[in-house]
Each structure stands twice: as structure tokens, then as C-alpha cells.
Amino acid sequence: MLDAARLRADFPLLARQDHGRRLVYLDNAATTQKPEAVLHAIADYYRTTNANVHRGAYSLAIRATEAYEAARAKLAGFVNAWTPEGVVFTRGTTEAINLVAGSYGRAHVGRGDTIVVTAMDHHSNLVPWQILCQEKGATLRMVEITEDGRIDLSDFGTALERRPKIVAFPYVSNALGTVNPAAQLTRLAHAVGAVVVVDGAQATPHLKVDVRALDCDFYALSGHKMLAPMGSGALVAKPELLEVMPPYHGGGEMISRVFDDHSTYNKIPHKFEAGTPNVEGAVGLAAAIDYLGAIGLERVAEHEQALAQAAIDQLTQIDGVTVYGPRGHRAGVVSFTYGDIHPHDIATILDQDGVCIRAGHHCTQPLMRRLNVPATARASFYIYNDLDDVAALAGSLVKAGALFGYVPA
């Protein structure tokens, strides 16, 4: 396992005390904390480099542009993108998926076509497709999940018989921690001629991603879930697809020549980056990639797997606790319920011990309906968490049990 205590020292927020206790931050699937290196990179950018990119002829603007494009190249290397031009900076995963739906989808999906999603997709990889299907008169087909929280491969195969135009799924489930066989699903979808959109929000921070090995067509990711600032993220795509896609947002930067009544568009990726981009976000993301790279994503995955396993072991020993999602190989996300204690009550009680967890539907209402629960409590781990945090979670949960009469007070 990683030396989490040493890593925690790099995170100013985690050094804070609340009611005399250290913070046990277990909501990393929602967003991660930021290390000093990222905070410094952002401040340093504004202190030494800030100017608008791709516009100025002066050396400061050139340096800002270089920093922005260097971040793009770094991210391209991090996920093994086809080319840096195939990396479009976005506000995050949600915007990246909306870009695919709004550009590729609107151009290629028509009446009677099918788009396939799964019952474990986050609303951000579901609602854009619902909107597109409603607009085009297309059909949305949701693939079911198995009892133990995996994509039902047999139902996936049945869905593909409709020869969908687009197949979308999450690499890692934000609510269950399931690591989906993304390369296999992509192969199957390609075999029927579909274009594949992978929601990488929960995978990119936690395991070594290689988009070329996955061979998906579009891969969406968020910076803020991997130590980088909020509002940073990207769509990583096969460049030949981006080349022929119509623009998404119109404005500055994305144009080549503007006439009174029409325009020609810039080259990729700039064609999809209308307006002044989030340069500090890109610079912060590059710093986060350096930080994670120094640790190694294989070790990050190993660390989280160990914490998730310890959490599952300890939570399932508490009478009345149900843990959702697969056993064995999974990401560091542990969703659970405890008897009839509503997850919001659990979250309030844990908060009194400085334990931060998420309670709710996790933007996966179709999944919650299938699990037959209105909500779950969710603990999600990252590099700075350790076994003490798992023990704090379990200990605080016993306290919740006592308040609700499950264990003797």
C-alpha cells in the first residue's frame, strides 16, 4: 500500500482539524482534494504566465499558449491518446459527453436509430442521449445489470442486435465500483458498426488508462476527480472522427474565417474549444498528472483495491449492513445501506466524527431503482486514505447503529 500519511501532508485541506479531529475524507468519487503541487501550479500560472492563449503576438501570450498546449500533450500521453489534437479540453466529463451527443450524435443519429446505454450509467452519460433520442426520434436502449452489479453481457449482446449507431457505457461505475470490460464491450459494439463512447470519469483517476488499447472512439474524463481543479476535463477522441464532426459551440478560437453569413472552422482540437479556455485548469491538470505519475497508477489502483476490500470486510461484519456491487476486482467505491437507517441519516451521523461520505442516488436513479433502494451511502477512497480511515468509517457506522437501535449503545 501507499504511504498515505506521507501523501496527506501534501494536501493542505486534509491537514485541517474539525471539532479537534482530522478529516476522514471518503467522498473522492465526487471530487478529490488538491495537493500543494497543483495549487502552486495554478497560482504560479497567474503570477508568471497569464495571458489569453492562441491570440497574442507578444512573448507572454506565447508562453501561456505553450503552457496550455503542453498540458494537452501531457494529458494525451497520460491516457495514450491517438494524438494531442485528439484531446479537446472541456469543463469535465459531462461537457465532453454533451459535445459528442451534440456534434457527432446530431449529425449521425436519425429517426428509428438506436443508442445503447447501460443501467449503471451516470446521468451525464444518459440524459444527453435521452435528449438526442427525443430530438431525432431515435430509440434509447438501456442494457440491464446482473445481480452482482456488472453489465449483463447477454443483454448487451441482445441490444447490439438492433445495430445501434452509438454505444455508451462507464469504464468504472461511480455507484458500484464495477470495473467494466471496456475493451471487450468496445470490440462487440464495433462488430455491429457502432461508435463507442466511454465515460472515464471514475476510471482515469484510479487505474492506468490506455484509450488506444481500449480502441473506443470517444473517451470523456474529469480533472477534478484526479487532484486537478474543478472545471478541467477533456474529450479524448479518434482524430479522424473529430475532423469530420460539425462544431459544438460557436465563437472565438473555433473559427478560421468569418464572413457575414457563414464561417469556416479552425483545425481540431480548436474547432471544439470556442471562447477563452480554462488555461489554469489545464495547467493544474498537468501538475496533477505529474503528481500521479510519480506515484504510478498501478500502485494507485492497488492501494484503492486494498482499501475497498478492507471496507467491504469490515462493513459486512456489521449486522444489517448491505454492500452493493461486485466482490473481488473492483474500484475503490463502496456503496452500502444499513437496515432502515436512511443514507442521509447515516451521512449526518458520520459527519459528526469528521467522516465525509456521500448519501443519495449518486446521479444514477435508474440503477437505484434496480437495486430497489431510494439511495445508498457511499464511501470512496483515494491515495491519501488509509486503513485508519476505513476503521473510522466502520466505527462511526456502529455509532449510527446504536442511535437507531441496531447495536447496544
Binding site: D18, H19, D340, H344, D345, I349, Q352, L403, G405
Partner: protein, 147 residues
């Protein structure tokens, strides 16, 4: 240095009376012959309430609810229905105002016997994110009876 405000007490929040109403809700289920009904939910946390009333001559003759959610929202709904039967609409709205004042930390409201069992929810005022849970059924009531 720890500059955080004093810690609110959990035991004040999760009193036995609240858990009793949560686990054995009063007046739960559909109401036959309802004249007014409102469904409200809290999209953030998923608490749901479907409040049904039979109002006759500006008097609430009967009230029941269907709902699911956290202990605070469901106990508040259960306690509220106990209180509303045979109240006039203006009386019911006055109770809603008292409840809202209690959630804002008004101590005289918290001592008002008119609120009955609901006084057990006074501790919620110390947990700002949970106030919306306690007020959900009351917001449904206000929506339902407003002219």
C-alpha cells in the same frame, strides 16, 4: 487552531420519538375522498412526500401521506398529520409558520405546545442541511391548501 462552531449533538437530533414516528408512521397511506393532494420531492436527496387532504368548509377533516426518505422528513410528515385533523386552513398555515420559525432556531416556537410531538424536531435547526428534510411535508401542506 480549531475555529469551528460548537458541535451539535446527535442525541438531540435522533430522539426516540422521532425514530418512533419514522418506524411507525401515523396516517400513512392513501386517503379516500381527498380534495387536495400535492407531491413534493427533494431532488438532491430523494425524499418524497405525497400529501392528501380532505378539506371541507375550510376545515381539514382528514389527512394522510405516502412517502419515503430520511427519518427527519418522514417523522415530520407523520407528526404533522397528527396535528392537522379538524384544524381550519388558517390554523394549519399558522402551524406551518411556527414549524418554520422553530427550524430557524426560534426558541419560543420550539416551546410552543401547539406543535405537539414536532417539538422533538427542534434539534434539526442545528443541522442546516437537514432543515429542508423537516420542512418538506410542511411545504407540501402549504402548496396544497394555498388558495
Amino acid at each position: 487552531m480549531d475555529t469551528s462552531p460548537p458541535e451539535p449533538r446527535l442525541s438531540a437530533l435522533y430522539q426516540e420519538l422521532i425514530l418512533d414516528h419514522y418506524r411507525r408512521p401515523r396516517n400513512k397511506g392513501a386517503l379516500e375522498g381527498a380534495t387536495h393532494s400535492v407531491s413534493l420531492n427533494n431532488p438532491l436527496c430523494g425524499d418524497e412526500i405525497d400529501l392528501q387532504l380532505r378539506v371541507d368548509d375550510a376545515v381539514i377533516r382528514d389527512v394522510r401521506f405516502i412517502g419515503r426518505g430520511c427519518s427527519i422528513s418522514q417523522a415530520s410528515a407523520s407528526m404533522m398529520t397528527q396535528l392537522l385533523k379538524d384544524r381550519t386552513v388558517p390554523q394549519a398555515l399558522a402551524l406551518a409558520a411556527q414549524m418554520s420559525a422553530m427550524m430557524q432556531g426560534d426558541e419560543s416556537a420550539a416551546k410552543d405546545k401547539a406543535l405537539g410531538d414536532l417539538r422533538a424536531l427542534a434539534g434539526v435547526s442545528k443541522f442546516p442541511v437537514r432543515i429542508k428534510c423537516a420542512l418538506l411535508p410542511w411545504n407540501a401542506l402549504t402548496d396544497a391548501v394555498k388558495p
